[in-house]
C-alpha cells in the first residue's frame, strides 16, 4: 500500500519537475535539469515535497529574471539570439528594446484613454453622421430616461430627435412631467414629407404655440414661430420672388403685398414686434445640458454642440418681410399714409431689431437685427428731420453709424484668418485632430500587428529574411514613437477647446453672449471641422499637396536621423 502511494507520489513529483524544466527559460535550462536530476536521489515524502516547492520558487525567480532581461531586447529577438550576429546576418531586425516599446505604447494608451483624447478620436473615427440618433450618448440618454422617467432627459431627447412625431411626443411627455419645459415644443423642426403631415404638424404646432404664448406672453419668439406657420401659406400662395431681402427697398414686392393683405399674419407679427423680450431659449437649452451633465455624468460635446448650435431660430425671411412692409407700406410708393404713422412703424422695427440684437445668441441674428436696424434708421432719420425733431434725428443718425460699425466688425471678423469657419484656427485644429487621430489609430494597429507577428514567430534568425519581416521590424521600431507623437498632438490640439468647453460646465453661471455661444459651439465641434471644409468648398489641392509633402519630408527626416543615430546606441 505504502509502495503504491510512493509510486503515485514519484510520478506526481516527476511530472512536477518535468514541468519546471519545460517552463524554465531556455538560456539557463541546464540549471533546471541539474535541479531535476537530484529529485530521484531524495528519499522521504516531506524532503521531496520541499525540493519540489524550492523548484517552484526557482522557476518563478528565473521567469521573472528572464522577463526583466527580455525587456532590454528588441521585440522578436529571443534570449539565445546574439543581437549583433542577428543584425549582421539579417537585412533588418528590430532594434528598439522591448522596455522602450512597452513604455511608448503604455504612454500612448494612457493619453488615448484621456477623456479629451477619446472624445476627439471618437468624433473623427467612430461618429459616422451628424445625426444624434446614431450616437451612443443618445442611447445612453434613452436608457436613463426609461429608468428614471426624468423630465430633463425626455426634454433633451426631444431636442436631439430628428423625427417630428417622436420629437413632439418626447416634448409632450417632458412637459406633462414638468410644465416649465413648455419652451421645448414650440416648433417642429424638419420639413413634412407629405401635405397631410404638414397639415397635422401645423395644427399641432399652433396648439403648442398657443400654450407657449400664454406661458411666455412677453416673448417675441413664440409669436414669430406662430406667424411663420401662416407665412408658409402666404409664400405658397404668392408668385415666386427672387429674394426676400431689400433688393427693392422702396416698394413692396409681390410676396410682401400678399402678406400685407393677410390680417391674421399682420396681427401676429405686430404682437411679435411689440413684445418686450426676445428669447430663443438658448440659455435654457444649455442649462438643460449642464443639469444632465452634473446629475447623470453624461457630457458629450457633440450633444452640447448639437443642442446649443442647432436650436431653432426665427425664420428670417418672415421677419424681413414684415419689417419691409412696416417700413415701406407708408412710403410714397406705398399707400400714402401720414409721416407720423410711418415714423411709428419705423420705431417699431428699430426697437424690435434692438431687442433681437441684444438678446439674440447667434451671429446670424446679429446680422439680421443690424440690417433691419439700418433700414429702420435710414427710413426714420428723414422723417424725424422733416417733422423738426432734430435731436431725435441726430440720435438715429448715431444709431445708424453704430449699426454700420457693428456690421463692419462682424464682416471683418468673419474674413479674418482666426475666425473664418473654413480656414481659421478651428479648421486647422480640426485638420490636425483628423490627421493625428488617423495616424494614431494606424500606428496603434500597425504596432500591435507587428508585435503579434514577432510574438508568434519561432525564435530563429531565419525569420528576419524576406520582405514582410523586414517591414514588420521597421514598423516595430517606428510605429510606437509615431503613436506617442500623434497622441501628444491629439491632446495638445484639442486640449484648449476641451478646456473652453469644460469651463461652461464648471462655471456657476456661464456667460451667454453671441460670442460665448459661438465659442462653446466651436469648442464642441472642433474635431468635425475638417470634413465640413471638404463638404463646404472644393478640395484645396495645393494646400493638401503642401501638407502631404511636409508630412512625407518630416517622416523621411525622422527615418534618416533614426538610421544615423539608433544603430550606434544599440551595437
Amino acid at each position: 500500500m505504502e509502495n503504491a502511494l510512493q509510486q503515485k507520489w514519484n510520478s506526481i513529483a516527476a511530472f512536477g519537475v518535468s514541468t519546471i524544466v519545460r517552463l524554465w527559460p531556455e538560456e539557463t535550462k541546464d540549471w533546471a535539469r541539474a535541479f531535476a536530476a537530484e529529485l530521484p536521489e531524495i528519499e522521504g515524502f516531506s524532503e521531496s515535497v520541499r525540493w519540489l516547492l524550492g523548484g517552484v520558487m526557482l522557476l518563478t525567480r528565473e521567469r521573472f529574471r528572464h522577463f526583466l532581461k527580455s525587456l532590454g531586447r528588441p521585440a522578436g529577438l529571443g534570449a539565445t539570439d546574439p543581437l549583433g550576429a542577428v543584425i549582421k546576418s539579417s537585412r533588418r531586425v528590430p532594434r528598439t528594446p522591448r522596455v522602450v516599446t512597452a513604455m511608448l505604447l503604455g504612454a500612448s494608451l494612457a493619453i488615448l484613454l484621456h477623456p479629451e483624447v477619446r472624445t476627439s478620436v471618437r468624433a473623427v473615427a467612430v461618429r459616422e453622421s451628424w445625426n444624434p440618433e446614431a450616437w451612443s450618448t443618445f442611447h445612453d440618454l434613452q436608457r436613463k430616461a426609461a429608468e428614471t422617467g426624468d423630465a430633463r432627459l425626455l426634454a433633451l431627447l426631444s431636442l436631439l430627435n430628428h423625427n417630428n412625431s417622436d420629437r413632439a411626443r418626447l416634448g409632450s411627455e417632458a412637459i406633462a412631467k414638468d410644465p416649465s419645459f413648455i419652451w421645448l415644443a414650440y416648433r417642429y423642426f424638419y420639413p413634412a414629407d407629405s401635405p397631410d403631415e404638414r397639415t397635422q404638424l401645423h395644427q399641432a404646432a399652433s396648439e403648442r404655440n398657443k400654450s407657449l404664448q400664454e406661458w411666455d406672453p412677453d416673448n417675441a419668439v413664440p409669436r414669430l414661430f406662430a406667424a411663420e406657420l401662416l407665412f408658409e401659406d402666404i409664400v405658397a400662395a404668392s408668385p415666386k420672388v427672387s429674394s426676400f431681402h431689400f433688393l427693392h427697398p422702396h416698394e413692396l414686392n409681390a410676396l410682401e403685398k400678399t402678406a400685407a393683405a393677410n390680417s391674421e399674419w399682420l396681427a401676429t407679427m405686430d404682437g411679435a414686434f411689440r413684445a418686450p423680450q426676445y428669447d430663443t431659449y438658448a440659455s435654457r437649452r444649455l442649462e438643460l445640458v449642464r443639469n444632465i451633465a452634473s446629475q447623470y455624468h453624461i457630457n458629450d460635446p457633440d450633444v452640447t454642440g448639437y443642442v446649443v448650435a442647432g436650436g431653432p431660430l426665427p425664420q428670417f425671411s418672415n421677419v424681413l418681410t414684415y419689417a419691409h412692409i412696416l417700413l415701406y407700406r407708408n412710403s410714397p410708393a406705398g399707400n400714402g399714409a401720414s409721416d407720423a404713422s410711418a415714423a411709428a412703424d419705423a420705431w417699431k422695427v428699430l426697437h424690435f431689431a434692438q431687442r433681437m440684437q441684444l438678446r439674440g445668441r447667434t451671429r446670424i441674428e446679429d446680422i439680421i437685427a443690424i440690417e433691419i436696424a439700418q433700414q429702420a434708421c435710414e427710413r426714420l432719420q428723414p422723417l424725424l428731420e422733416k417733422t423738426g425733431q432734430r435731436d431725435q434725428a441726430a440720435l438715429i443718425n448715431l444709431e445708424l453709424e453704430r449699426s454700420n460699425v457693428a456690421l463692419e466688425r462682424i464682416k471683418s471678423r468673419n474674413q479674418s484668418w482666426s475666425f473664418s469657419p473654413t480656414n481659421g484656427n478651428l479648421a486647422w485644429t480640426g485638420l490636425t485632430i483628423h490627421i493625428a487621430a488617423y495616424a494614431a489609430l494606424a500606428s496603434l494597429a500597425a504596432s500591435l500587428a507587428a508585435l503579434a507577428l514577432f510574438a508568434r514567430t519561432a525564435r530563429s534568425t531565419n525569420k528576419y529574411r524576406g520582405f514582410f519581416p523586414v517591414l514588420c521590424s521597421l514598423v516595430v521600431d517606428i510605429a510606437p514613437p509615431l503613436l506617442l507623437l500623434t497622441c501628444v498632438v491629439l491632446f495638445v490640439a484639442y486640449h484648449p477647446y476641451a478646456r473652453t468647453y469644460q469651463s461652461y460646465f464648471q462655471a456657476q453661471d456661464p456667460s451667454l453672449t453671441t460670442e460665448s455661444m459661438e465659442e462653446l459651439a466651436a469648442a464642441a465641434v472642433a474635431p468635425y471641422m475638417f470634413p465640413q471644409i471638404l463638404a463646404l468648398q472644393p478640395v484645396d489641392f495645393a494646400y493638401l499637396g503642401w501638407l502631404s509633402l511636409t508630412v512625407a519630408l518630416s517622416m523621411l527626416a525622422v527615418f534618416l536621423m533614426y538610421r544615423m543615430w539608433w544603430p550606434r546606441r544599440t551595437m
Binding site: D30, A34, F35, A37, E38, G54
Partner: protein
C-alpha cells in the same frame, strides 16, 4: 575579481561546505543537506558563483539506468582563496559562525 558577490550567511555556509572537501565534487542535494539551505535558495547561489567563474561544474554520468545525469560542483582554486578570506573575515566580524562540525 571585478564583481562582488553579496555574501549572505547562506552563501558563507555553502562556501564552508564546499571548502570542507575542496577537491571533491558535490551534488546539489548533498550540499542542501549539509548546509540546511533549501533548494529555492541554494541554486540561485550556485548559479551566481558559477556565473562569476568561482564554481566549477560538470555532469556526472548516472550510476543507475533510467536516472538523469547529475550536476556536480566544486570551487575553483582561485575561489578557494577568496572563500577562505571571506569566511575568516565573517568570523572576525562575528557575522557568521561555522557549524559545530567545522569549528
Amino acid at each position: 575579481m571585478g564583481v562582488r558577490l553579496r555574501v549572505s550567511p547562506q552563501t558563507l555556509n555553502l562556501l564552508a561546505a564546499l571548502l570542507a572537501r575542496p577537491a571533491q565534487w558535490h551534488h546539489g542535494y548533498a550540499l542542501s543537506q549539509v548546509t540546511g539551505i533549501a533548494s529555492g535558495t541554494l541554486y540561485p547561489i550556485l548559479m551566481r558563483l558559477e556565473k562569476l567563474r568561482w564554481l566549477e561544474t560538470r555532469w556526472e554520468q548516472p550510476g543507475k539506468a533510467g536516472r538523469p545525469p547529475r550536476h556536480l560542483y566544486r570551487l575553483t582554486s582561485g575561489a578557494r582563496v577568496w572563500a577562505r578570506e571571506e569566511l575568516a573575515d565573517a568570523r572576525t566580524r562575528k557575522v557568521w559562525k561555522p557549524a559545530a562540525s567545522e569549528a
